[in-house]
C-alpha cells in the first residue's frame, strides 16, 4: 500500500517572522466539535469534566489544562481538543484536520490584527482566555488570546494560505510604519 506523508494545513507556509511578529502553526492531535442536544448542555458539561477535567466554557471563553482544551465556537457549539465520548448527550464530529491554527505573537500583534479584524482585541477588553468568532478580512475565523502578546487564529484548512498571506501583508505594513 502507498505510504502517505502527513501534511499539516500550514506545511510550507509557517513559521515566519515579519519585524517583531512571529507566526507559527499550532498542531492539535484531536479537535472535536461538540454540540449538546436540546436540554443536554449541563449533562454534557459534567461528562466532559469527568473525561478531560474541563466543562463547557461560557460564550466567548476558552479553557485549557494539560490534557485538553475547550474553546467556545458559536451558538451551542464548542471545539474540544481531546478524544471524548458523549453518546446521547451531544453531536460530536471529528474536525481534527479541518482547521488551520496559527499562533501570532510579538510586540504590536494587536496592531496587526486590528488591520483585519473588526472587533476590539486590546487587552483591556479582550483578556486572557477570551475567544471570539469573527472575521479576518472576508474570512470567518475564531480568535483566542493565549498570552499578553499572543493570539491563536483558527480558520478553515482550505483558507490556510489566505490566512497566512493576509497576516503577512498586515504585519509588513505595520512594520513599515
Amino acid at each position: 500500500m502507498v505510504k502517505l506523508l502527513p501534511r499539516s494545513p500550514c506545511t510550507d507556509l509557517l513559521p515566519r517572522t515579519v519585524g517583531t511578529i512571529t507566526m507559527s502553526e499550532v498542531l492539535l492531535d484531536r479537535v472535536m466539535s461538540v454540540a449538546p442536544f436540546a436540554g443536554q448542555a449541563k449533562p454534557t458539561s459534567a461528562a466532559l469534566k469527568d473525561q478531560i477535567g474541563l466543562g463547557l466554557s461560557a460564550p466567548g471563553r476558552a479553557v485549557s489544562n494539560r490534557r485538553a482544551r475547550v474553546i467556545w465556537a458559536g451558538q451551542r457549539m464548542w471545539l474540544v481538543a481531546a478524544d471524548v465520548s458523549l453518546d446521547g448527550l451531544a453531536a460530536v464530529t471529528d474536525q481534527s484536520d479541518a482547521w488551520a491554527i496559527l499562533r501570532i505573537e510579538g510586540a504590536g500583534v494587536e496592531d496587526v490584527l486590528a488591520r483585519l479584524v473588526p472587533i476590539d482585541l486590546r487587552a483591556s477588553t479582550f483578556k486572557g482566555g477570551h475567544t471570539a468568532r469573527t472575521m479576518l478580512g472576508h474570512m470567518s475565523v475564531g480568535i483566542t488570546r493565549v498570552g499578553a502578546q499572543a493570539f491563536e487564529v483558527m480558520a478553515m484548512r482550505s483558507m490556510a494560505a489566505t490566512l497566512v498571506h493576509d497576516l503577512q501583508v498586515a504585519a509588513e505594513n505595520v512594520a513599515a510604519r
Partner: protein, 87 residues
C-alpha cells in the same frame, strides 16, 4: 450600524445576514388552512416605526437573532436569541 449579539456583544453589521420579518417565529399550524398559510408566505407589513427582524450572525457565532428596531429612527431597541423565544 452595529448590532448587539446576545452571545458575542456589539458587532459590526458586516458580520450579519438579514433574513427579514421575524414572522418565521409565528409559523401557522400545519392544519391552519390555506388562508393562514397564504398570509404567512406572501403578505408582509411595511411598518414605519417599530418592527421585528431576524438576523443571522453569519460571520460570528451562527446564532439567529431577533432584532427589535425602528425603521424611522434606525434605533435598535432590543436583541435576543431566536432560540430562546417561546412558541
Amino acid at each position: 450600524m452595529r448590532i448587539t449579539c446576545p452571545n458575542c456583544g456589539e458587532r459590526d453589521r458586516r458580520e450579519f445576514y438579514y433574513q427579514g420579518d421575524a414572522l418565521a417565529l409565528t409559523r401557522p399550524a400545519p392544519d391552519a388552512g390555506p388562508h393562514a398559510w397564504d398570509d404567512y408566505l406572501h403578505n408582509r407589513d411595511n411598518p414605519a416605526g417599530d418592527t421585528r427582524d431576524l438576523w443571522f450572525h453569519e460571520a460570528g457565532c451562527g446564532a439567529w437573532i431577533v432584532v427589535s428596531r425602528n425603521t424611522v429612527t434606525h434605533a435598535i431597541d432590543d436583541t435576543h436569541l431566536a432560540a430562546t423565544v417561546k412558541r
